[in-house]
């Protein structure tokens, strides 16, 4: 089915055209064009709901890199359907909202380009069947989210928040990529569907656990799970439509999607169960606990998002326990947690989207989001108040809103799971419902804070930046639609259950679904069960805590600011920067002497070490010629000259001694019967000596360097060691001839090249290419000297690099 592939590509294509259209029709708000994209996609995808509910799935492949098995394969099933509808549906509503929220003075084409990029990337994440393609889209969501958070890039906090979210999500993404590579190594395929089919045989593979942990790392960082949740509150610097869309409904659910998608792969394992449900519950508790202390409405909502995501995550963890068993009526009970997770996923998107939009309206109309300055807005913005009430009560889990249903199911799931006797649940199981319940109490408290502190109490006119007035109708459209969904899902939950969640359950529990129906019916009234008493307890304790919140708020001061994860993040970041700067500074001294030291040390350690460890050193004098008197005397002269250079007091002495070395080599060439070399060596030595003298004529007097003795000793040791290693290598090479020399061929120079001088025949005929390039080297050297001396930049020229 090509439609899905096109659905992913369309937002990207639209993003290309947005700037041009904006330029051509500057008077029309470009958002209306952008709205066209998600709305069309939503309608197109929604038409597949009946067939998907009928159990059909669609796969379509476009070849990308077939030789590596990386293909743009899309897979439309129940699970991706839920997410795709959320992305396009809430995407449309957010675009409508943003049209009224952003003034036309903002750079709107940037905004909608980023937003459409994000939308396409997100659709790519949920539709991709190929894990590498999934990863590509995963990183695209991180990048487009980074761009959106820093939309007001002139603000320091926006840039900081964007950087933080990028660092955290991308590090998780890299971890995930490694996990994916391991997984594809285990299963020998890149397709998720095929991995699910074959993974059952591979659960004892040594890479199975690392792959699981790394993929979970990716999911946890993206979904702002404990302790990676710290980026989400800072991402609230983004424009409110972005917060509503990315940081409540879509991007943070990418991690949830990943967990759901990989539940059939890793589910049923103890590590997976405890990590997903444990981290989820911890996040639920920590997020809700921290939400109460916030004074900024958006920060409060950010922590509440963290908390709700933890709740969804923990339910997916609990549901995975069902995979531990084969199909039976008992195990079906545990799949109920996954059902609840999917249900709450939908519910959360509706009410959290609405709440963010409400907060945006309040901010837009009043000029502040600070809870300490807000109050008494109920008479001024009644419509906004109604939506806030619906959203918050749904979040708190009160009837008649959809949050009530999913919270009840959450309690049921937690209670059911605590009865299990696998995975050490008989010891720790009772903790699950307890933590879930405590988290829910805090959720209730902060939900009440949103409604009552914003809309009730005294109206503080003098504290507000703008004179308060009702919201414009256009801004209210989207939250009203979401609020209608919040209530509507409560009254008709089974529509959602049957058409959206049941097909998704088939994806998550493929083997169980073959054998029986996993469908659940959601009942609004399920009798006087323990979960109902738990809800009543939540309301009672929550109300109590809310009323007396000023008395127990001191508990937050027990945790000093220094101990937060935020501080840990900034601390480790600065430590990292300082540490790397210190390390770099410690060896990049800027002194050539030190760099030479490293090079020589490397030479000694690498070459000497290899010689020593491989036992390659050999010393064999049998094939060697006897040394004659002439050779001895020349060599002794050279040794004396070489050592004397080290103790020379003036530069002239050193230059002349160097000349002695050169001429001695020429003599050695004569002795070893190399007339061409000797000729060249003599002339070159003369010329270089003259050049040395010319250059040093202009140089200052050679000063005795007063280096510390330690440096001198190190120099001595290094130079002796380099000499020894070199001599050892030379001896070994000399002694260990492996094959005959090829010089016999060149002895035929007269027949082959018509020359009696073999050296010249080699240089000019056999190996003339080398000679040609050496001539080029000469050319470069000549031009180099010429330009160095003739072309001088004046001193007053500015150094561009220093600016």
């Amino acid at each position: 089915m090509l439609t899905v592939n096109i659905a992913i590509i369309i937002p990207f294509l639209a993003a290309i055209f947005i700037p041009f259209i904006n330029k051509k029709y500057p008077n029309i708000h470009i958002g209306w064009f952008a709205l066209f994209v998600p709305a069309t996609l939503f309608v197109t995808l929604a038409r597949y709901i009946p067939t998907i509910a009928g159990g059909k799935t669609y796969v379509y492949t476009i070849n990308w890199i077939p030789s590596y098995g990386i293909n743009f394969t899309t897979y439309l099933d129940g699970l991706s359907m839920i997410f795709a509808l959320l992305i396009t549906g809430i995407g449309s509503l957010v675009v409508i909202y943003s049209i009224y929220y952003l003034s036309s003075k903002e750079s709107l084409s940037h905004f909608y380009v980023y937003l459409l990029l994000f939308m396409g990337a997100m659709l790519g994440v949920v539709f991709s069947d190929n894990i590498m393609v999934l990863y590509v889209f995963w990183e695209l969501t991180s990048i487009s989210s980074f761009l959106l958070i820093a939309f007001w890039y002139h603000r320091k906090k926006s840039r900081q928040g964007a950087k933080k979210s990028l660092l955290i999500t991308i590090s998780g993404g890299f971890g995930m990529l490694i996990g994916f590579i391991m997984l594809s190594g285990i299963a020998d395929t890149l397709s998720i569907r095929e991995i699910v089919l074959t993974i059952g045989d591979n659960t004892d593979h040594p890479l199975f656990l690392p792959a699981m942990l790394l993929i979970l790392l990716g999911a946890f960082t993206k979904s702002a799970q404990f302790p990676f949740h710290i980026w989400l509150p800072d991402a609230m610097e983004a424009p409110t439509p972005v917060s509503a869309y990315l940081h409540s409904a879509t991007m943070v659910k990418a991690g949830i999607y990943l967990v759901a998608r990989f539940t059939p792969v890793f589910g049923g394992e103890q590590t997976w169960f405890w990590l997903v449900s444990g981290v989820g519950l911890l996040t639920l508790f920590w997020g809700s606990f921290n939400a109460i202390r916030q004074t900024d409405l958006k920060a409060l909502l950010a922590y509440s998002t963290v908390s709700q995501l933890g709740m969804i995550m923990s339910m997916f963890g609990m549901g995975s326990a069902a995979l531990h068993f084969g199909y039976s009526t008992e195990s079906v009970v545990y799949t109920q947690a996954t059902f609840a997770a999917l249900f709450h996923l939908i519910n959360h998107s509706t009410f959290k989207g609405a709440l963010f939009m409400v907060v945006g309206i309040v901010d837009h109309e009043v000029g502040t989001r600070d809870l300490r300055r807000l109050g008494g807005l109920i008479t001024i913005m009644p419509a906004t108040f109604t939506i806030a009430l619906i959203g918050s009560f749904s979040m708190a889990g009160l009837p008649p809103f959809n949050g009530f249903l999913s919270k009840e199911m959450f309690f049921t799931a937690a209670l059911n799971i605590s009865q299990l006797d696998i995975f050490a649940l008989d010891t720790w199981g009772t903790l699950l419902p307890v933590i879930a319940w405590i988290g829910s109490v805090f959720t209730f408290v902060y939900s009440m804070i949103i409604v009552f502190q914003t809309f009730f109490g005294p109206y503080q006119k003098e504290k507000l930046d703008l004179p308060a007035h009702g919201a414009s109708r256009g801004m209210l459209v989207s939250p009203i639609i979401l609020a209608v969904f919040v209530v509507g899902i409560f009254f008709f939950p089974n529509l959602v259950g049957k058409y959206l969640i049941n097909p998704a359950m088939t994806t998550i529990f493929p083997r169980l679904a073959v054998e029986g129906d996993l469908g659940q019916t959601i009942t609004i009234w399920h009798g006087f069960q323990p979960e109902l008493y738990m809800t009543i307890g939540v309301i009672a304790v929550g109300t109590f805590l809310y009323i007396f919140r000023n008395y127990w708020k001191g508990i937050y001061s027990l945790f000093p600011e220094k101990w937060t994860f935020n501080e840990l993040y900034y601390f480790s970041l600065t430590q990292l920067e300082d540490g790397s700067a210190a390390v770099t500074k410690s060896y990049m001294t800027g002194f050539l002497r030190d760099y030479l030291l490293y090079i020589y040390l490397f030479f000694i350690v690498a070459i000497g070490g290899i010689l020593f460890y491989t036992g390659a050193f050999s010393f064999d004098l049998t094939g060697d010629e006897p040394v004659t008197m002439f050779e001895w005397s020349i060599i002794i002269v050279m040794i004396i000259a070489g050592i004397t250079i080290l103790f020379a007091k003036s530069r002239l002495t050193a230059v002349l001694l160097n000349g002695v070395l050169g001429y001695s080599i020429a003599v050695l060439f004569v002795i070893f019967r190399a007339p061409d070399l000797a000729l060249t060596q003599i002339i070159v030595e003369t010329v270089t000596t003259v050049l040395f003298l010319v250059c040093y004529y202009y140089m200052p007097e050679w000063k005795k360097e007063n280096k510390p003795t330690r440096t001198k000793r190190i120099n001595l040791i290094i130079s002796i060691a380099v000499g020894i290693v070199f001599v050892l290598v030379a001896l070994s090479v000399q002694s260990g001839k492996l094959f005959e020399s090829i010089s016999g061929y060149f002895e035929n120079a007269y027949e082959l090249a018509g020359g009696k001088n073999i050296v010249n025949a080699i240089l000019g005929d056999f190996r003339a290419f080398d000679t040609m390039l050496e001539v080029v080297v000469l050319l470069i050297a000549g031009i180099g000297v010429y330009t160095l001396i003739k072309l001088k930049a004046g001193k007053e020229d500015e150094n561009i690099e220093d600016q």
Binding site: I683, V687, V694, C695, G754, G755, N757, N760, L779, I789
Partner: protein
């Protein structure tokens, strides 16, 4: 300013320079069959020219030898590369050299090799580079 009277130097130079130049040409031409070649020949030629510069001064030599030595470098390189590329005309690999024996009216039978042309390129480059380097450094204030 006091000017040195280097009559002996100049007189001997005019003699030695010719011998040096002749020796350099000999080295260049003899390279194929006995020690020598383009490189040594070039170095020797530049030695002769430099000797003239030293004894007569830059202005006098420039008048005597109106050659811009910098241009010798690309000329030499062009000859060397052209010798290599010439092998393409005969459909053989780059830098294939060949030789043959010809009978020339005055000299009788002599050997002519393309490697000789290549050596000539090397020769010109070396002369150009050496004199350029030394003159630029020497003229620098």
């Amino acid at each position: 300013m006091y000017k040195t009277n280097d009559l002996i130097l100049r007189t001997t130079t005019s003699l030695i320079a010719f011998i040096l130049l002749g020796f350099a040409i000999y080295l260049l031409l003899a390279g194929h069959n006995s020690p020598g070649g383009g490189f040594v020949g070039g170095l020797m030629t530049s030695g002769a020219v430099l000797l003239m510069y030293m004894s007569y001064g830059i202005e006098a030599v420039n008048k005597m030898l109106p050659i811009n030595f910098v241009t010798l470098i690309p000329i030499g390189l062009a000859i060397a590369v052209a010798t290599g590329a010439g092998s393409f005309l005969f459909d053989v690999p780059f830098m294939s050299q060949t030789f043959g024996y010809f009978t020339v009216p005055i000299f009788g039978e002599i050997e002519l090799a393309t490697a000789m042309l290549f050596d000539l390129g090397v020769y010109f480059t070396v002369v150009g580079v050496m004199i350029t380097i030394i003159l630029t450094i020497g003229n620098d204030q």
